[in-house]
């Protein structure tokens, strides 16, 4: 890889992506100013599927609209200058020996992917995040690679303690620096971690057949950008290979399949411009649409793709009702349907979640809900004063809310299981749940009752009960329940997620200095 302007730009954006990824974590401040969501907010595929599915506008996606306009003017520069997955492929492709391209991927294959995705969005099933290149990269990093990095570092650090004990403290400053700035805060394992990574590795493996195989034949974002690029006034001159040279074919990472550079596949990497021995090549406005296919793919593909989307949208909506009862969404999500229309499944909320309460849904939300975030209280609860997931969600599927509002948002409602809960089942005191309930008025309270213990003696036991009107379903009660495996109190999903009353969350004087 020769370091040209475009390559340096690619590396900068890859570095930016990684930095923002690491920054998408609580590091001592309530607000995250810059998160990796910037990449999704500037992602036209996210924009188009959002517009089609939600049928409304969100200012969060303004950068994606600007990117769309920029692509209309300049062409498909995103793929050759910005896309972190593309950069990753460029970095590894030279190490992979090529065989012949896969025939089945040629032709209209990419449209058969993009069109059903977009048309399914129109029918309220927003699946574009499943094949969005940035989402694929981010999910593999969030669900497997980053946790593995954390696990290995921590295991090494703990192993050191086992070996040298307190003397490890001498190295603590160095380790703390890495831990505080680079590592995930706690070790978490995610479902679908292997699948997410396998998809990324599969995309890399596709380089076995030709360079940028994913980008030119599959990627729905690339296909969309390529289609927009057809309208760009700029193009490479000459558009055909020169009869006397033809070196461009080797240098070009994407096209020149039929001796002509297809404009929708040119990622403006400028390799041919830099490498031309005759300095014949330039990129400039030209009104000729030479070497460009028709503005729309064939009618067959267009209609077939649309119909495919409809066929895709209907059957995958099936859900088992009993799975729904534990389908807890992040705070602020009031309607499941609305959420599914907007969620990109990028995994950022799960990465940033302070208590690692959010996990990708594997089957709980049906096929349509795969990779959408799910709160699993037994693994982590929603921290009362934390608003991070809403801050990093690129589309506002989890709305960004001020903390006073977020505290009142209902995730679900807690219910006791009297067959397990100790004061009921074994007639002994416990109420760890009441202790942890963060609602100032306490959504879990207890009363003294005279009961006959299992030993036949009458005693006074504190029996807990739930004040449902002020329970926000944060799940800390289920999380801290000292019973093993199954908790004696569980949070169940509710349809009516009207926020709990203002008065129940208490008077909140202005946060001031730490001393008063």
């Amino acid at each position: 890889m020769k370091l040209t302007t475009a390559r340096i730009c690619q590396l900068i954006f890859l570095a930016l992506f990684l930095i923002l990824f690491v920054q998408t974590e609580y590091r001592g401040r309530d607000d995250i100013n810059a998160a990796v969501n910037a990449f999704f907010r500037a992602d036209p595929l996210v924009l188009f599927s959002y517009l089609l599915a939600a049928k409304s506008w969100s200012w969060l996606l303004l950068p994606a609209a600007l990117m769309t306009v920029a692509t209309l003017v300049l062409g498909r520069f995103f793929c050759g200058w910005i896309c972190p997955l593309g950069t990753l492929l460029d970095l590894v492709t030279s190490k992979i020996r090529k065989s012949t391209p896969i025939k089945a991927l040629k032709g209209n294959f990419k449209y058969w992917l993009l069109l059903p995705l977009l048309s399914a969005s129109l029918f309220n099933i927003n699946l574009s995040g499943l094949l969005d290149p940035i989402a694929i990269l981010l999910r593999a990093m969030t669900f497997l690679l980053y946790p593995v990095l954390g696990l290995m570092s921590r295991e090494g650090w703990v192993g050191l303690y086992r070996m040298i004990g307190e003397r490890r403290d001498a190295l603590a400053p160095a380790y703390n620096l890495i831990r505080d700035n680079l590592l995930p805060f706690r070790d978490t394992q995610y479902p679908l971690a292997l699948l997410s990574t396998a998809i990324l590795l599969g995309i890399i493996a596709l380089e076995r057949f030709e360079t940028r195989n994913w980008c030119r034949n599959i990627c729905p974002l690339g296909t969309l950008l390529g289609w927009l690029a057809r309208f760009s006034p700029f193009s490479r001159v000459p558009q055909l290979l020169c009869g006397d040279c033809g070196k461009c074919r080797e240098m070009c990472p994407t096209s020149f399949d039929q001796d002509v550079l297809h404009k929708e596949e040119c990622i403006l990497c400028m390799e041919c411009l830099q490498g031309c021995p005759h300095e014949r090549i330039s990129f400039r406005p030209s009104l000729k649409l030479n070497g460009c296919g028709p503005l729309l793919p064939e009618r067959r593909v267009l209609l077939g793709g649309m119909a495919g989307g409809l066929l895709l949208a209907l059957p995958i909506c099936f859900r088992y009702p009993e799975k729904q009862s534990r389908l807890l969404r992040p705070p602020g999500v009031r309607s499941e349907d609305d959420f599914l229309k907007k969620c990109v499944r990028c995994g950022e909320c799960m990465k940033v979640c302070l208590k690692n309460a959010l996990y990708p849904s594997a089957y709980q939300a049906g096929l349509e809900g795969i990779y959408t975030p799910l709160l699993i209280p037994r693994l982590g609860y929603c921290e009362y004063n934390c608003t991070l997931c809403g801050q990093v969600c690129p589309t506002g599927a989890i709305p960004p809310l001020p903390v006073e509002t977020k505290r009142r948002e209902v995730i679900g409602k807690a219910v006791f299981d009297k067959n397990h809960c100790l004061p009921f089942a074994r007639k002994i005191d416990c109420i760890v749940c009441e202790e942890h309930c963060p609602i100032p008025e306490k959504a879990i309270r207890s009363r003294d009752v005279q009961v006959m213990g299992l030993d036949g003696l009458v005693r006074t036991v504190k029996e807990p009960y739930i004040v449902e009107e002020i329970c926000n379903g944060c799940g800390i009660c289920e999380n801290v329940c000292p019973l093993e495996t199954k908790a004696g109190i569980e949070v169940f999903a509710v349809k009516n997620r009207t926020p709990i009353s203002q008065s129940s969350v208490g008077q909140e004087a202005k946060e001031s200095s730490i001393y008063h």
Binding site: Y161, E383, Y384, V432, H436, S446, A509, Y515
Partner: protein, 294 residues
């Protein structure tokens, strides 16, 4: 005095001597509780400590000291869910002034440790102090300890406490749903690992078991403001009462017993205190405790 009388008298005296000596010594060791009042929290903390003998009595030069505040909840200072940062800082400064080599401040928090350390204000209050560590709990440092108590036979305790020379307990006085109040004796939960909720089923005995093993050399109770209801984390400013008091004692039970009165309750109302008293961990009868206004 004839021989018979002499032998009788000597015998009786020898038999009674240990008890008598104990009585005399006990009178000398009457539990002392210092109570300082004022709005300069650092100053009243120092006053209270000085009244029970000053930090030099507990901390020798070169000692490693653990100062264990309550900072278990993601609540800001005014809600009285965590020990006041100025009180913690004053205790830490006294330790350093007494020659401590290192002062370690930590708590096994209930909410996310990062948020608790930040929002309690304690991390910020100690920032930049030389010889002071304010680190999160590291789970590998918990060590299974044989307690041989009445309820807990063994439990995971934090090795930094076990290996420290001095352990200073700095709780905040507040309401608690199960134990009515949480004070010095209950603050020890912050050095426990494992499934801590388990001990709630026999909290009084469990706390006595742990406190019998880990003795607080000095207990400093922050009652600058107390949480009177919806404890232990509160969150409503209406439940907070400002008292501007700091209590210090070498007797953890006596400190707790006195602090109980601030809530209008008697020490005998608090089962945790009663159990600890019966276990011989300290004095809870207010008429046997010497309360000194510092």
């Amino acid at each position: 005095m004839d021989r018979r009388t002499f032998i009788k008298a000597t015998g009786t005296a020898l038999l009674l001597a240990p008890t008598l000596i104990k009585e005399v010594l006990a009178a000398h060791e009457q539990s002392l509780v210092a109570v300082a009042e004022g709005t300069d929290y650092a100053a009243i903390t120092r006053k209270a400590i000085n009244t029970v003998g000053g930090m030099k009595r507990f901390v020798k030069p070169g000692d490693v000291v653990v100062v264990k505040p309550n900072m278990g909840w993601d609540r800001s200072v005014k809600f009285a869910a965590n020990t006041h940062p100025l009180v913690v800082r004053a205790v830490v400064e006294e330790c350093l002034a007494a020659g401590a080599k290192k002062v370690k401040v930590f708590d096994n928090t209930c909410n996310d440790p990062r948020r608790c350390y930040v929002n309690s204000g304690i991390e910020a209050a100690l920032k930049g102090m030389k010889g002071v560590e304010c680190k999160h709990i590291e789970t590998e440092r918990f060590r299974k300890v044989a307690l041989n108590g009445t309820f807990l036979k063994e439990w995971d305790l934090y090795d930094e406490v076990l290996s420290a020379n001095v352990y200073i307990n700095v709780p905040v006085a507040k309401h608690h749903g199960l134990s009515k109040l949480t004070l010095g004796l209950k603050n020890v939960m912050g050095i426990m690992g494992g499934n801590r909720g388990y001990i709630h089923r026999n909290l009084d005995a469990a706390l006595a078991d742990v406190n019998a093993h880990v003795k607080s050399h000095l207990t400093v109770i922050d009652a600058t403001r107390i949480l009177t209801a919806h404890g232990p984390q509160g969150g409503n400013i209406a439940d907070v009462r400002v008292l501007n008091k700091v209590i210090a004692s070498t007797d953890i039970v006596a400190a707790d017993a006195y602090a109980t009165t601030l809530f209008g309750m008697r020490p005998s109302d608090i089962p945790v205190t009663v159990t600890a008293y019966k276990r011989g961990l300290g004095e809870m009868n207010l008429d046997k405790i010497k309360v000194v206004k510092a």
